[in-house]
């Protein structure tokens, strides 16, 4: 029990074990964890796994959480085709 691997970031198919291993090896922040594992970098923009990554890196602790989101949010915040995206500029 508890050893069955399972996915945390569905878009990029990153497992809990992979994320924990990276955090333990590099003692890293949410941002570094994202860059090393690609968790949170998929098509949904991290809407599902962003809070989970913050939970694992401890960045949801009250003192550390401070005044900005641990992981930067990049536009577009919803999946959109290049054609539609280009139309806006």
């Amino acid at each position: 029990m508890g050893n069955t691997p399972f996915i945390v970031c569905r878009c990029e198919e990153v497992t809990l074990e992979q994320i924990i291993e990276v955090i333990e090896r590099y003692h890293c922040s949410s941002r570094e964890t994202k860059l090393r594992t690609r968790a949170g970098m998929g098509i949904c923009g991290g809407r599902t796994c962003r809070p989970l990554i913050d939970r694992l890196t401890g960045q949801m602790d009250a003192e550390k959480a401070a005044y900005s989101l641990p992981l930067k949010v990049q536009p577009p915040v919803r999946p959109i085709s290049f054609g539609e995206w280009g139309r806006g500029s």
């Binding site: 029990m1 508890g2 691997p5 945390v8 809990l16 949010v73 915040v77 539609e84």
Partner: protein, 405 residues
């Protein structure tokens, strides 16, 4: 393209619609955008009976707000996803969407909340959904989600939706806790969960109420409550609420076939040899809600972290103004609370925006104070406090106090 908009509201839920109505009544030209095909936001899924016997039907509440908005010439466009926004000098804001760009002097972000996941082995199988998805399928799209389900996760939201699924005649085999893992620390702790359930035992069917009432208010008694809680669960809406069992794994080949569960100790750790399989063809994951604030982040708004409010919320004051000129927030993006609080917050935001626009019919400061007062009243009278410390947290954030005249 629409010329000379005063306000774009992002999100046609209770907060966004009521803000649109309040500001349009003061003479503002308002556009409301929402990505769902129907306006109403989370109201659309809500159906429950209040203690005085009144049935709160969210679909009717939404229709009423939409009608009032239309009567005040508010333009509501659905199926529009906002992808980004940017402040353009002192002149206002530009909004990008999947239907082209829009511009306005003021923007209200009322995007509500998103569901938190509580991942466990097998949660990516077809047939696993968030409990909010099951609610929308049942109450809005009128689609039967499955024949026999298991709910993983116990909180205010999941209990409310379980009662709705039961009203729709959907069989639920059990409600169990998520497995203890680094992602589900508090949601898998039976003591923590019991304490939070006891806070709204007054809303629950008799069995839990009778059980809960005798343990309220005393922490020693609450610790005992867990030991006395029946292993097979207490039946609510004819569904066993199994506080002393957790899901271990969702099993199935190409889709959900069942959930492996185990008895747990008082720390949430499975007891060896107690595993069994519950057959099911769908699973609802209920991890609670967090404020959906992506657009405020893209806009460059600073944030505050408040676990009582569900996580990171855009910095804002009691008048719903953010530190950025022309940018406002209302509803669950400012913290997870009931729809009635969101409606009252929307009215505050609408009045603030009208005041800042300097329209001839501008509301007075007294009207704004009255509206802010109503938010506090709604919060105090709310049937469900998503967190016991919401009021204290709001007071810290706004520099206000409890006084409700």
């Amino acid at each position: 393209m629409i010329d000379r908009l005063d306000l774009i509201v992002i999100g046609a839920g209770p907060a966004g619609l009521s803000a649109a109505i309040a500001s349009a009544r003061c003479g503002l030209r308002v556009l409301v955008l929402d990505e769902f095909p129907r306006p109403g936001g989370r109201l659309l899924g809500q159906l429950h009976q209040e203690p005085d016997g009144f049935w709160w039907n969210g679909i009717k509440e939404a229709q009423q707000l939409v009608r009032q908005a239309s009567e005040n010439s508010v333009d509501i466009r659905t199926g529009v996803s906002v992808t980004a926004l940017e402040q353009i000098g002192q002149t206002g804001w530009k909004i990008w969407t999947n239907r082209g760009p829009f511009s306005a002097k003021h923007v209200l972000i009322a995007t509500g909340a998103a569901e938190s996941a509580c991942p466990l082995p097998g949660w990516t199988l077809p047939g696993v959904m968030s409990i909010g998805a099951a609610q929308v399928m049942t109450n809005v799209q009128r689609v039967r989600v499955g024949n026999r389900g298991v709910v993983v996760g116990m909180n205010v939201l999941s209990m409310a939706i379980v009662s709705e699924l039961r009203l729709a005649g959907i069989e639920l085999a059990a409600i169990v806790l998520p497995p203890k893992n680094p992602l589900n620390v508090r949601a898998s702790d039976p003591g923590d969960v019991l304490r939070s359930l006891l806070r709204f035992a007054h809303l629950a069917p008799n069995a839990l109420f009778r059980f809960g009432a005798s343990f309220l208010g005393n922490s020693l008694m609450q610790r005992m409550a867990l030991k006395l809680y029946p292993r097979r669960g207490i039946r609510m809406w004819n569904t066993p609420l199994q506080l002393r069992r957790s899901a271990v794994e969702i099993v199935g080949g190409s889709c959900v076939e069942g959930v492996r569960i185990a008895d747990i100790d008082s720390e949430g750790v499975p007891i060896p040899g107690t595993e069994r399989l519950i057959e099911a063809d769908f699973v609802c994951i209920a991890g609670g809600l967090y404020p959906l604030a992506e657009l405020a982040a893209v806009a460059g708004c600073p944030f505050r972290y408040a676990p009582e409010l569900g996580g990171h919320v855009p910095a804002h004051d009691e008048s719903m103004r953010t530190p950025l000129q022309g940018l406002y927030v209302a509803g669950n993006i400012t913290g997870v609370e009931s729809a009635k609080v969101a409606i009252a917050q929307g009215q505050v935001a609408g009045l603030s925006i009208a005041i800042d626009s300097g329209v001839p019919d501008s509301p007075t400061e007294t009207e704004l104070q009255t509206a802010m007062h109503r938010v506090k009243q709604m919060r105090r009278d709310a049937l469900i406090q998503f967190d016991p410390d919401i009021t204290a947290c709001r007071n810290r954030m706004y520099g206000t106090n409890d006084a409700i005249g």
